[in-house]
Symmetry: D3
Subunit: 318 residues, 6 copies
Amino acid sequence: MEQQKVCQLAKDDRFDGFLLVRGAEKKTDRNGRDYVDMNLGDRTGEINAKIWNWDGNQNLPEGGKVLQIRGLVQEYNGRLQMRVEKWQPVRPGDAVPMEELVPSAPRNPDEMLREIRETAAGIQSEPIRKLTEAMLDMAGDRLSWFPAAQRMHHAERGGLLHHTTDMLHLARAALEVYPWMNRDLLLAGVILHDLGKLEELKSDENGNVTDYTRDGQLLGHLVRGITLLNRAAEKTGVTGEPLVLLEHMLLSHHGEAEYGSPRPPMFPEAEALHWIDMMDARMNTMKNAWEKTPEGAFSEKIFSLERRVYHPRYTEED
Amino acid sequence: MEQQKVCQLAKDDRFDGFLLVRGAEKKTDRNGRDYVDMNLGDRTGEINAKIWNWDGNQNLPEGGKVLQIRGLVQEYNGRLQMRVEKWQPVRPGDAVPMEELVPSAPRNPDEMLREIRETAAGIQSEPIRKLTEAMLDMAGDRLSWFPAAQRMHHAERGGLLHHTTDMLHLARAALEVYPWMNRDLLLAGVILHDLGKLEELKSDENGNVTDYTRDGQLLGHLVRGITLLNRAAEKTGVTGEPLVLLEHMLLSHHGEAEYGSPRPPMFPEAEALHWIDMMDARMNTMKNAWEKTPEGAFSEKIFSLERRVYHPRYTEED
Amino acid sequence: MEQQKVCQLAKDDRFDGFLLVRGAEKKTDRNGRDYVDMNLGDRTGEINAKIWNWDGNQNLPEGGKVLQIRGLVQEYNGRLQMRVEKWQPVRPGDAVPMEELVPSAPRNPDEMLREIRETAAGIQSEPIRKLTEAMLDMAGDRLSWFPAAQRMHHAERGGLLHHTTDMLHLARAALEVYPWMNRDLLLAGVILHDLGKLEELKSDENGNVTDYTRDGQLLGHLVRGITLLNRAAEKTGVTGEPLVLLEHMLLSHHGEAEYGSPRPPMFPEAEALHWIDMMDARMNTMKNAWEKTPEGAFSEKIFSLERRVYHPRYTEED
Amino acid sequence: MEQQKVCQLAKDDRFDGFLLVRGAEKKTDRNGRDYVDMNLGDRTGEINAKIWNWDGNQNLPEGGKVLQIRGLVQEYNGRLQMRVEKWQPVRPGDAVPMEELVPSAPRNPDEMLREIRETAAGIQSEPIRKLTEAMLDMAGDRLSWFPAAQRMHHAERGGLLHHTTDMLHLARAALEVYPWMNRDLLLAGVILHDLGKLEELKSDENGNVTDYTRDGQLLGHLVRGITLLNRAAEKTGVTGEPLVLLEHMLLSHHGEAEYGSPRPPMFPEAEALHWIDMMDARMNTMKNAWEKTPEGAFSEKIFSLERRVYHPRYTEED
Amino acid sequence: MEQQKVCQLAKDDRFDGFLLVRGAEKKTDRNGRDYVDMNLGDRTGEINAKIWNWDGNQNLPEGGKVLQIRGLVQEYNGRLQMRVEKWQPVRPGDAVPMEELVPSAPRNPDEMLREIRETAAGIQSEPIRKLTEAMLDMAGDRLSWFPAAQRMHHAERGGLLHHTTDMLHLARAALEVYPWMNRDLLLAGVILHDLGKLEELKSDENGNVTDYTRDGQLLGHLVRGITLLNRAAEKTGVTGEPLVLLEHMLLSHHGEAEYGSPRPPMFPEAEALHWIDMMDARMNTMKNAWEKTPEGAFSEKIFSLERRVYHPRYTEED
Amino acid sequence: MEQQKVCQLAKDDRFDGFLLVRGAEKKTDRNGRDYVDMNLGDRTGEINAKIWNWDGNQNLPEGGKVLQIRGLVQEYNGRLQMRVEKWQPVRPGDAVPMEELVPSAPRNPDEMLREIRETAAGIQSEPIRKLTEAMLDMAGDRLSWFPAAQRMHHAERGGLLHHTTDMLHLARAALEVYPWMNRDLLLAGVILHDLGKLEELKSDENGNVTDYTRDGQLLGHLVRGITLLNRAAEKTGVTGEPLVLLEHMLLSHHGEAEYGSPRPPMFPEAEALHWIDMMDARMNTMKNAWEKTPEGAFSEKIFSLERRVYHPRYTEED
């Protein structure tokens, strides 16, 4: 049986199911008794929850973990709050509906990864193929669940694969419209362009980014991607133009200095990569805002888009 | 037999073929004799030419017209110059290799126009289809040869169709990757987005833009497109959301105030239209710069891209 | 007898008079009893108010309506709060001091409208006069109370007329200093420049703007003004330069792309319109900030001016 | 008899009249003979001129001086050139049509100066009046002919008075529309705002600016105006608010840091001064561009306006 | 005995020592009894404090004054709060540890002032030395404790001297690396560049800036510095280049219009002054952020630096 | 005997000495005879030169090479031109006054290099020292003559060493003023920050930059410096924080995205490096402009500084 969505909880509802802990703190009430003040959520939203009469010796629920919860929804100061009546950590064998708890890519990670691997294997140019495959080898298992961002776009379990495979589809269309481009270079560029994020973001296996890494803060994923690529070049013995073209594509894919690329794209495949990346990132952000907005209405101002978004009715009458 | 390309002319060559007049002026030499100083070109380049001993009563060759020319290539002050020995205007029946003289879209205009018409006819939403077809009707024959710009991108015979059909291909790919978008709206947006240019630019039938129109200068093709769309709405009786959505798509397709759109795209189909337009325009500009640059070399700084462009060798060795 | 101004209420005051409802909500106290939490205001300020022991079946007071109120001013958590003792909706015949409740233009609307109508009637050029009068006809009665903005300047009952008539006075002075300008064009431009706001803003008859319309959001008042003008042109049969000059004036009156005008003013009358509009808008904003600041003091930073404002003492000593 | 305008000279015309020297250089022809290569002009334009067979011992004509000239207009390399046949410096008593040679303000300088003096004398506030009159005293006679700029606006003999008196007219209109402003402050601000230019620019008595002064380059007329004002304060004994308000008006009249004002206007009279200054400067620039453009045509891009200017036909037909 | 640092206070601690009042307000509790709600601090932090059962007739503790305090640290709503048990104003003779209460420059003010005075006395150029010494005379005693800013950098007791002397050290190093610069000009520029702040900021003797002055708001310390310098010139009889060079250095030391300098530095000594000022200001800001950040961690985003700051471990292992 | 400076050549001078070829081209005169048209220069300037009656079989003089020249200075079209009478390539043993021909650093390269090497050897932290020394080893001999730029600053033989050693002096002063900084990190940062330029610029041994390299164009010296540093890390086995801190210093030393640094400096040593680099680069540019400007005069607008530069008289009178 499906558990209730957090965004649909109402006063006096009873909840019974699994929720993700998003931060928990021990506090003391007016009478000096300890309690736990925490936020619980699924992919649809978040609710504040209290465990009263907390035994101070217990371990505090940890952020990013899933709890099995039974509780009552109350209202306090005009906001909903869950009074937790029973709770326990997940035990092996529990049927945790993970896809309900965290935002996830719509396709299966293995399937997406296979598509990327096959694309890499199909690259004709030996040095480009070797670099691409070496980078994928270095990326390893984390690719299955890594998100593409903390908040902006594809901030979801498997988001990096989602972003990359959608871009591959757009890239193949671009290669049909602009057949004079170099296929190997563009497809490799798509696969490699964001792999530096694996070293820029700290993500748990739910695709939830808690922070940036030291190297991510100090260098960013563009430059970190380039040093990884040089490591792959060392391993595979690739040098010269194929390497520097891919380095340039990593460096320039944000398009402008203002957005982190000290070089603008300087050849057609780098230019195409930039627009495909922009388009896919923005369409994902736009979709998220549009989905949450009722038909015929405008969203609040979306921070990353710097505008309000309208959800058309798409019907023929006004 | 193919005539020689202007970009390949060398000192002492004899030329025999057709060339396009790009500006001609009557001048007087030191001895008081009239001569014609003009520039002749084909799609690959331009050469200065002189007709000495000009009979002042003749009509001056007119810019935009084709002449049949026989002449000798000389060098003067380090630059090539053609001494015209024989010349005459084109006569009916002359086999003028028009595609060699003016830059032209790579596909046949009728074929492109047919594709656009069929796409319009396939729009499911009645109001959107009616508006789209009414706008195409109003555009009329000029569509066959109209360019998309004076200089920036698709500045070529049939460039407007070329730009629009390439964008349709990208739009269809985008609809596969983002199937939650409204197909009718996106395809109609692509077809309509630049039709205002028909009233913004003054172009001859070779796709050569000599100037902007008064209305083009004072209002621009975005806003002129909107008033044309309102005229189409008046004719077809369409009102309400379908009309305003398309008005918004015309207005916002440049993406930012700085580039002429007082509104940014506010729903997904407008957003997609913007990126597809940007990508196609930039890929065309990039291709033009890249084609003219030798392999392994950098171009001069390209004004519209604000950067130099590199033409990779695309080989495996350095 | 004049009722007390909200900005002058103090602890323990008793209030007896009419106030405007600005948002009201039903809430529940700790004992489960319903009460109403609302904000009441006049043109000088706003106070939070409670109706305790609310009968849940009554209709909640509606935002934008006027209530007759009797209550006691108390202090809670350092802020004033009115305990409502008696209240009722306005009944026909009540002497509601509307000008005390909402900010209003200083001149009588009918008088301002008459001035504008007479100016329009005095335009010599037939096509310009026809377009101007047709636009005024289409604007209709809403002109009497429509504000010029939600917040920035002339956000008041009759603000659009206030802004327009003040600009007419400045325009007449400009025509004396720059007598080479075309009088008809400048006066018509002033009258028409903001009429698109009637379709951009949702305002009640108090000049209180609750939101932007769908078309206002998607197109803005500049572009909507142009489509209205084209409708007027259709009705009056006006075409050609007079129409396109006025279209350009509407489009360019914000002066720069950054402020919403995709074209800068390109002839003298459009340029003059822009500066007169800027000056009148800014002087109004400046006056509002200056009035609220005590003599010899600085205001807080004013958002729309991006600066603090000083209210000089204007005396001869320091 | 009126002499021919330079902008109307054509090949084979004979010219007889006075012209202003704008730069002259001694050169040597192929045969080793000296000649003078100079530019001559009136307020309508400029023509290159040669004095062949120049006696090397003569003094070269000096820039900024007027010559009486007789010559023949010829064409060389497609450009007009005057062959000077006879020339001599102006002698006392020559009826030099100065107003034809240099751009001049349309009103009589004495009349403009009288208007400014009377306005200053009418200031009610004693400290403000004293400061204003002391500044005018310090400015002295140069006011009669000083221009307002080297190129941008009112770059003409008497341009500073022209700009100031036109602004006074606009300021008086503003005081009627915004009667809550302080009359003394605004009128004094207008009179004083550009007096620092007297120490910023090097101008001859024709209003022709040859350069900036050292202090003008290093400090600018805003800051130099403030130190002059402090000198006036020292003389008159004025201190306190009246002084600092005027200092602020001088400092802020360009409106934004980007345009040289480190402070934006912070009280209403300073705000009004800024807009009146902007409007008058821009209307003058616009008029100059518009006058030179034929009806129904667009100018080239005007550097200081960053746009092309259209000169409407102002007729009712298209 | 050293008193406890505010940043180290913990629940249930008893505090006994001196603290600085940072704002105090009289409030009323639910039972109608008056109490004082105030913030107390030392240079390490701030804590909220309550004096319950306040006798309404007493004078409220004044911001900026020091109190001797005995109290108990409690927790309320998860934040620390001090219950004041005993308090009294400082009496003459109390050993107030001022350096613990307010941030102060690390060196002794008299020593710093002496260094500056000696540097001024060592200036070889008579006009430059006279201007510098006259400005220091006018600055007077306030120099001993004046801060360099309200918040940005050197916001501390004696901060103006601290900033100036550190800059003198950098300037001497620059004179060794660039020995072609004029020593007198650079050293005088350093000493004078921020003296206008004495009239821009309102500071108490603890270096705590409560506000900007009227003149500071309307003119800023750059321009106010120039009028002070002109007063010094009047006194000393200095005119000409030495004066205008120093005026320019004051005006240009922020480097760009955007940062308040309407002129960029236009000679080498002005350029050097700008970079030395920038460097010292930024190093101070950076140090403050870096000190508060634990080793191996990133700070929050620092407003004035627009970035997060990292505190390296500086050890050889990772 | 010293040869004549090119900037001092005058008409009819005879020149006898060595000059550097800056571009040479074979051309044909009106009579069909070949001649050489070239530019010759020393560090003070450039002059056009012709070798008439050129034997077409000879090798054209090569850009960047030195020729021994005898010639006559003539004037043509108002510009000086040298008629070359005798010329030959430099032969071994010729006493070429290289320091007169190309701009060079004022100190001896070996001495500068020794200073840098000793500074590197004195670094206490082993990983930082190893990285620094490995990078210097990789840089090799080119360091002796490499310039720091093509045009902007230190565009001279040995300019990279000149820039680096001057920065080391400033850095040591900064370490005295801010003794809490990490000495090793700052000194290593200075030494390494521009080494990537060795792979960004193509320079001959005279420090004359003819172009950017492919990698320089596509990646820039900041990013290329980072990949070189990673190669040094590989060789020396250094990993972890010391490596990433230096990577960040290379990446951030331009300070802002707009100037090529995708990350701003995020720790004090990186911040100090940025300002020291800025200051030294700007002081060098300023010095070059100032030296060329006569005392008491202003330069033309200097492109890289976006301003005119003033050369003060530095005397006590005006």
